[in-house]
Amino acid sequence: MNQPTTLFEKIWSTHEVAPQNADTPAVIYIDLHLIHEVTTPQAFAELRTRGLKVRRPDKILATMDHATPTRTEQVFGGMPITIESAAKQIRQLEQNCADFGVELLGLQHDLRGIVHIIGPELGVTQPGRTIVCGDSHTSTHGAFGALAFGIGTTEVGHVLATQCLLQTKPKTFAVNINGRLPTGVTAKDLILSIIGKVGVSGGTGHVIEYRGAAIRALSMDERMTVCNMSIEAGARAGMIAPDDTTFEYLAQTPRAPKGVAWDQAVASWRKLVTDDGAVFDKSVEIDAGGLEPMITWGTNPGMVAPISGNIPDHRGDPVFDAAIRYMGLTPGEPIRNSPVNVVFVGSCTNGRLSDLRSAAHVLRGHKIAAGVTMLVVPGSQAVKRAAEAEGLHEIFRAAGADWRESGCSMCLGMNGDTVGKGEYSVSTSNRNFEGRQGVGARTLLASPQTAAASAIRGRVTDPRELITARDWNS
């Protein structure tokens, strides 16, 4: 009988073009390469310098999201893109895709969106695939039981030229989440809790597999939120074994296999599980039932507390002191009722339709507080159309929020959407690093529900104060 193996090992071993040996890392075949405008120009330039072709254009999908504007008139005409260098990157990706024969869902394409939103939406993100992108949040795709990880621009060039990467085999890390999330506690709260527990480098050198009853109960959107932030725990990849939830999602997507091919695919996908008795290099146990809505108070995603709790007090620790000084918050005080200037709902972490529904559910019938700016940015143009078909955009606008075209937007302050110096932003994105959302911006990461509740009050607010348990899922 074969040795029991993990989900990760099953995918790794079937993608070895050449195994690892004493002299060289493994040569790993890549099934899907997602590319965008910001981390590819130098890679295409390298191909041109060396006279190399793109080996498998059919395994690449390009879009633009990071540097693209979100104002409708800048996307569809009427107003120029403010940042000239961003406009140049967009033009360069168009040229590179045309020259090398790569499919591009360009700026005005109705399937464009954040790269990690559109892969799943189109059904190109599939169980068992190896998926890479020049973006650290590529871990998102692991929600489907794919091995998906972020790479640098040099490696983007490697995949363009050879469809392969040289990789040293990572270790495995089981994150077991038992029980069930309480009402009012979201997937975002779960992953923030996990990062708070394992730390921002706890996953370095490892691929995480999220396991347990609480994970099985999550929708695909929620699983993507969890896997998305694996990198914030230092892990390049996070995965969840595929199951009926996965297959039901994929069955609705345009590019998943159809007919007989679908049946064959599902049969093979069902084998993508960690065998009983398989050994992980390390593991952690978390009781979902004990979790609460979470919000970050510091300058990395591991600096996180329950929203009903207090900002910790580690005065004298230089790391803590630097974070608290930057954030302008008071050690030992409740995080609740901290000031809010900006609220951002969107990003590859929380920019899917269910996230927008959650935010709208809290906002319905309310106005955002005076002095608060709120930006709602759908993760893709398809999410935007679906949200508008349900009237979600009307709820956001009636509340006083801005409704935009899709993109990374305010997650990373490189496309014109920024938070001002010293301003507090409750954001559904993934990073609260210094200056991430703009020079001097202070970011508090939270769920869409917490973001919406905080917009209404103009203060950090536990969404359970605005939504009773009975109404939470309605």
Binding site: I151, G152, T154, N300, E434
Partner: protein, 189 residues
Amino acid sequence: MNAVKTIRSRTVVMPATNIDTDQIIPGRFLTTTVKSGLGVHLFADWRYDAAGKPLPDFILNRPEAAGCRILVAGRNIGCGSSREHAPWALQDFGFQAVVSTEIADIFRSNSLKNGLLPVIVDAATHVWLLENPGAEVLIDLEATTLRLPDGRTTKFPIEAFPRYCLLNGVDELGFLVSKDAAISAYENR
């Protein structure tokens, strides 16, 4: 890529832990389409005031940082974004090695691909380096050692293949391209 064999230099010390790649090179500088010229933006938000004037107390603006090629950083440098602009900016500024107890995965991989040597040291060596900024250190990639001024020497881990590439000044793409037959065989399985 230039070959790397030994690096002898005084150190610059940045003791902060978890220095993420957004600090090394903020997002607004990523709309470039080339690799060069990023050194001026290295640590931009820590290095300049709102008017773009260098902050005199920041280590990279101080005279003793001039000519230093080794950056000693607090634990877990390079976490966060996969932007290869981070090693490009460090190199363009003049750094040839980054030393810490932990170096984030993608940043480490990106650094190796560009000839910026990631050196992971034990806690005791790290503490000594943090407490002695400006110390003259010798990093020997052939021997995979870091030597302190008093002669104490510590080994650092590096995989055989990137070490070979760095020592010989060759990049990994040539090796991958040479695997064409094996890749074709895999595709035609």
